[in-house]
Point group: none
Chain length 415, copies 2
Amino acid sequence: MTAEIVSVGTELLLGQIVDRNAATLGVLFAECGVIHRHRQTVGDNLDRLVEALRFALSRSDLVVTIGGLGPTQDDLTRDGIAAALDDDLVLDEAVVTHLKEVFARRGLAWVESNTRQAMRPRSGSIIPNPNGTAPGLVCRKAGKIVIALPGPVNEFDPMLETSVRSLLEALGGGQVLLSRTLRIAGMGESLVEARLGDLMESQNPTVAPYAKTAEVHLRLTARAVDRIGAIALLDPVEEAIRGRLGDAIYGVDDETLEYAVVTALQKHRATAAVAESCTGGLLGGRLTAVPGSSEVFLGGVIAYANAVKERMLGVPRSILDTDGAVSERCAAAMATGAREAFNSDYALSITGIAGPDGGSDAKPVGLVYLGIATPTGVTVHEQKFRGRRETIRDRAAQYALLLLRRALLERDRRS
Amino acid sequence: MTAEIVSVGTELLLGQIVDRNAATLGVLFAECGVIHRHRQTVGDNLDRLVEALRFALSRSDLVVTIGGLGPTQDDLTRDGIAAALDDDLVLDEAVVTHLKEVFARRGLAWVESNTRQAMRPRSGSIIPNPNGTAPGLVCRKAGKIVIALPGPVNEFDPMLETSVRSLLEALGGGQVLLSRTLRIAGMGESLVEARLGDLMESQNPTVAPYAKTAEVHLRLTARAVDRIGAIALLDPVEEAIRGRLGDAIYGVDDETLEYAVVTALQKHRATAAVAESCTGGLLGGRLTAVPGSSEVFLGGVIAYANAVKERMLGVPRSILDTDGAVSERCAAAMATGAREAFNSDYALSITGIAGPDGGSDAKPVGLVYLGIATPTGVTVHEQKFRGRRETIRDRAAQYALLLLRRALLERDRRS
């Protein structure tokens, strides 16, 4: 089974959008043993879209389009597929009914142009879109298959998992490429590589490091006849890597650092709270991104103004006057204050200078104090993060999560 | 002058790399007035590369390849271009000399395979690569132009600026394409289109809508002989669009909704605070992402646990017991409580069910109550957001920002 992607959208050609959906789908092709040899990108132009689809159908068994399924006049993918398959467009009443329900539920006025989204080639069937109005399509005609998927990431990604993966697995067969990502925090890329040494030369699975913000991801990719065989290749190499990196590996595949932290808190039936200044809620936002975090995360104070640090976290005015808000003692007082205010087992605090303004020689942009209050006391870490405001804030939140994870690992060792 | 990109690399098809170089080049095409209609992506396979290049040359005046210029056996772009142009490969002695100097300077042993990087089609000339060993190429034959650029970002980006931009400007024929994005919140894509009507048919500038999470972006793109001329085309159309969409347009180009809100607060010398339950800090995180937000944003309470809503925001226990935490009255009490606790002019509250668990028939996943307390009172809005936990949280934070923006616009009208 050979597959080809046709990405649709003038914004892609103008470079206003980077085509990450095509990469995501490329990974899925590999995982399902579908051979991916060509990709085309065209703008919102019917003639060129039809030309691209016909060319793709002439050399590939499966063509997957991304984008152009919206309600507007420049959403032409449905029309293009019908033309390329010499098929006609029909109105799918079931979709119309569904769309009208969605609009009603959202309290939005029904606009007739939305019926465009209910059109499909006669040979096509609907792929449900749980997160948007534009459904996907699967068309089978003359031994060829065309799948159409919407462009918005929050619609595209879930549809891959709920519908497209099983479809492709059925079409694939033969060889399977399976990847597993080991997520590492608190250890730099070069040290990771040094520790792994010969393991980096492994051929099947291959082992490739990717540097992320304050993390390193190791991608193991195995080639085998089926999923079971690939897993049998991945497992021993993962075990060997864990033997060399130990606790630095906090998660696998999509397990984020916040997920690891929330899971560890749940395991210990421990609770946490946060006190954030320069991150302004990013840390709480990441912890609460984890489903079920409400069991262990009580809440936090976004203490942006000094008065808030004083009033809601009990930071002594004397510390703010003498050491200032960005100081070791303030971070300690914020963590202790949050732990008391929320009556939690653990509390994290972050206070620093995210920039671009507000820095000085004594306290440059990027200087951040991170505190952690535990049942056994409070400790503060000084960090100097590089980068733009956004990066400094991300690194600070990441580092705070790392502190809590370490405290919980320590608790594991003691118990 | 029509141009086409051919991205080369099996890693692109496998999705191991996202093709951001193609997007970067797409932007440059637009800036130089080069018309970009097609993009192809192929793996490291000579036959398919030659096929893609021949097809590109058959319909485009200019073809730019990205990647496949390295020293290894699977770097085939030079060979592919020569074949597609019916040209032969010759060794460029000047490049050999340069490469040997580079290796000597870096103290590296000369490897004969590097002479591959000194090969070029006879019709080609060299584009210097200041940051790598693989030079770029410009080939002119039979009225067609082929440019070859290396894939690594740290080599690709500088070469665009040092050499390729001037080349494209010359080829672009004194035409520039200038884009301007009008950012719209609180109005659906189909309604935006209905309001704009005939303006959507505008040819120069073109007007294209893009749906984002709880936003619509309208991209105006003008073609003119120079930047001034393009601006002269954009301005009246923007004015006409503003006449029909009014306040729904909150920003231009990179101005985010949080930026618009912070700016409006600064203009009114007004302060704001937040009380977040299901968003857990996302709203504060977005507001504090804006440099200078500390002037107007005092802070917030991440009130995840009910006890926190009660203790830190003064939500009456009776409301939590009778209506529950996800209720209109709780949202109102949270907003009022935050406004008092932080002594701010405005306070936003968010309480809802982000899922995936915790929903019921009476209170389904996606049900969110958003409150805003202002100097003139408190109002609460009930919303039912669709999508995954992440999307529901993003939409809730977005809607809260919209509420504050509307309140500040109202204040404009009164003053």
